[in-house]
């Protein structure tokens, strides 16, 4: 993710932009965390205690979720104090169309993983003296990659299909032959 700071400089990476969100978003996060911590606290208490309370399996989870509850309350209080700072809407600073595309992408990838799980098959064969296995990984990956690359890059379909075919076969051969790691999509 690209993130511009106050000097107009950009940096990319997983920690880009961690810090204060809009007060409404922080309030939503706070409510979710309060609910989660209460749930985990209740589940920790409900766990069986085979020995003494000192070694109870739910002891540390209870302490961690209780302290998470305090932190969530702190986050909520901080968001409540800041609520007047943002006159603009909750998502005013976000590109909602990009978020929608991210969700669509996640949906497509969920279908891809489900295809490997539920349409699993395996076909063993030899090629140039090498024992190879064809599984649901190869067709599912070629189709998914071709689709995603076509939608995100908008290049000609034959180019996107060639790229996804070549990359999938390369990965399949390297992992099966060089690293001897079986691929998903088999039984």
């Amino acid at each position: 993710m690209s993130q511009a700071n106050e000097d107009g400089l950009k940096f990319e990476g997983e920690e880009a932009g961690s810090g204060f969100a809009s007060p409404t978003l922080d309030l939503i996060a706070s409510v979710f965390l309060i609910a989660l911590s209460l749930l985990v606290m209740a589940a920790s208490v409900a766990l069986p205690v085979p020995g003494e309370i000192r070694t109870a399996p739910g002891l540390l989870p209870f302490i961690v979720s209780a302290s998470l509850l305090v932190m969530a309350l702190g986050l909520g209080a901080s968001a409540w104090v800041r609520r007047s700072e943002h006159a603009a809407g909750v998502f005013a600073e976000r590109d909602l169309s990009a978020d929608f595309r991210s969700l669509l992408l996640a949906g497509a990838i969920a279908v891809y993983i489900a295809a490997m799980q539920f349409l699993a098959f395996q076909e063993n064969f030899s090629l140039l003296g090498l024992n190879l296995r064809l599984s649901a990984f190869e067709p599912a990956t070629i189709i998914t990659l071709a689709l995603i690359i076509h939608l995100s890059w908008r290049g000609p379909i034959w180019v996107t299909t060639t790229i996804s075919f070549a990359w999938t076969i390369l990965l399949s051969v390297v992992f099966q032959i060089v690293f001897r790691i079986p691929l998903p999509g088999t039984f």
Partner: protein
């Protein structure tokens, strides 16, 4: 040590180190692909390697990718990782003056010097820390794990440490799922057999740093401008000689910051950059921010020295120095290598092999970097719409390879969605990884120490001076975080100030 070096210099391991370094440099050079992401994805790949090969390969990737961020920072003004921001500020100014090649040459040399300083300090201090760490019992290990998670939260979240701590705590909750280590009672499994073995931290790591990055960057429309030419990359050793005192200071600083759990290369490079400015001669200080070679040397030396520093707590205490070191720790765990105070007893000679592999990786990085700048520039012109989807099957294989379980692929998918939501709600993700990895250590040692303290008073507990010291350190981190939040709130209330994080 000689045996370790000879082993690391065998052709097969040299080839794997070189492959790791090259992959790391290219990976780090591509905007949006971070060191942790590379390390996380390649854990799965290392599962098919022998222990020595996996260590050489992973250390090669680590060393290469930390430097790789400098290439995109200098040439296209977009650093791959936060630690390359100071390099970008100075390096891109130099590139615009037509000195991009020389700036990159200086970055390579400074990275090599920084890596060397980090390794020397690692070799020097690890015996001291190991002998001290042998005194650590359950109580101390519990507090060390808590400190690791809290400091990681403080460092990653910046203006609001609370969000970093929450992220770390959520990571701990994830790690509690599965059979508990003392009584084998299923915790939070909801009757799902696949959860009895716990949630794979490799899948979580790949999801948070790999899949989440695809979800974040692929739908974005902005693309960097690609430079038409770089110029000749000259290794300016004479110029580097002039900045050697600054390099030595920044290297030492970078190593010590790396040794603080959670304080990554970004803290090291920013601090070295700032201290470098304060200590520079007035004529050099005037160049700061406008294309200073000394500033570039300070930042690059510090972030590469950080590698050796991050290995100190990782190897000596089993507490990862940063998220990338956490990934390395995960790879070692897959090879049944348990690092920590007893590493010398459990795995004799391994620590010397790790030193040797780091030295070889640093030399390889220096040599490969010059050769790879040209291909990296070509790779920058590869559209993001092609590049990011290609990472997707690597994420899937990486998550699947550890236990050959499609369930882990779903875990990776869920972790990726959570990572994407974290970016929307502006929570850092690195503390989650520290939480997931350190929670089992904290859980087991906490309950074991409570058993040991049975019937003893508070006075006895406080008489465990190392544990008491660590408890005070946790308190210090909490107070420091509260002060930071209060100072930030005061600054925000001042008229005309912009709300942070917007």
């Amino acid at each position: 040590m000689i045996d370790g070096l000879l082993l690391a210099l065998t052709p097969a391991l040299l080839a794997m180190t070189l492959a790791g370094v090259c992959l790391g440099i290219i990976w780090g050079a591509l905007p949006g692909l971070s060191t942790t992401m590379a390390m996380g994805l390649l854990i799965g790949l290392s599962a098919g390697m022998s222990q020595d090969v996996a260590i050489s390969f992973m250390l090669g990737v680590y060393t290469g990718s930390v430097f790789g961020g400098a290439i995109s920072a200098v040439l296209i003004n977009i650093p791959g990782t936060p630690d390359a921001v100071p390099t970008m500020i100075e390096g891109h100014q130099l590139a615009q003056r037509g000195e991009g090649g020389q700036a990159l040459g200086m970055s390579i040399a400074a990275s090599f010097v920084g890596g060397g300083i980090g390794i020397i300090l690692l070799v020097t201090f690890i015996p001291l820390i190991l002998s001290f760490a042998l005194n650590f019992k359950s109580w101390e290990m519990f507090w060390l794990a808590v400190i690791g998670i809290m400091v990681a939260g403080t460092m990653a979240a910046g203006s609001i440490p609370l969000k970093g701590w929450i992220a770390g705590w959520l990571g701990m909750l994830v790690a509690f799922v599965g059979l508990d280590s003392i009584h084998a009672v299923p915790r939070f499994t909801f009757g799902t057999f696949a959860l009895f073995d716990g949630i794979s931290y490799v899948a979580v790591l790949i999801g948070l740093f790999g899949f989440a990055e695809i979800l974040r960057t692929l739908p974005a429309r902005d693309m960097p401008t690609i430079p038409s030419r770089v110029g000749r990359v000259i290794p300016p050793l004479k110029l580097l000689g002039r900045y050697m005192p600054a390099a030595a200071r920044s290297g030492i600083l970078g190593t010590f910051i790396g040794a603080i759990p959670g304080a990554g290369a970004n803290v090291a490079s920013f601090l070295a950059y700032d201290i470098g400015r304060r200590r520079a001669k007035p004529e050099e200080r005037d160049k700061w921010g406008k294309g200073s070679y000394q500033a570039l040397v300070c930042a690059e030396t510090a972030n590469n020295a950080n590698i050796g520093g991050s290995m100190l707590p990782t190897l000596a205490l089993g507490i990862p120095g940063n998220a990338a070191a956490a990934a390395l720790l995960a790879a070692l765990t897959l090879k049944n290598v348990v690092v920590g105070p007893t590493i010398e007893v459990d795995h004799p000679g391994l620590i010397y092999f790790i030193y040797a592999a780091l030295i070889v990786a640093n030399v390889m990085m220096y040599l490969a970097a010059f050769a790879l700048i040209g291909p990296c520039v070509k790779l920058f012109s590869l559209p993001r719409g092609i590049l990011m989807p290609l990472i997707l099957p690597v994420c899937v294989i990486g998550a699947y390879a550890v236990k050959l379980s499609i369930f882990d692929v779903w875990i990776m998918f869920a972790a990726g969605l959570v990572g994407w939501l974290f970016s929307i709600f502006k929570f850092p993700v690195a503390p989650v990884v520290l939480g997931v990895i350190l929670a089992p250590l904290a859980d087991e040692n906490f309950r074991r120490s409570l058993l040991l303290f049975e019937g003893k008073g508070v006075g006895f507990v406080l008489s465990q001076w190392i544990g008491t010291f660590l408890m005070l350190a946790v308190l210090f981190v909490l107070i420091e975080g509260a002060i930071r939040v209060a100072a930030n709130a005061r600054a925000r209330r001042q008229p005309g100030s912009e709300p942070a994080g917007t």
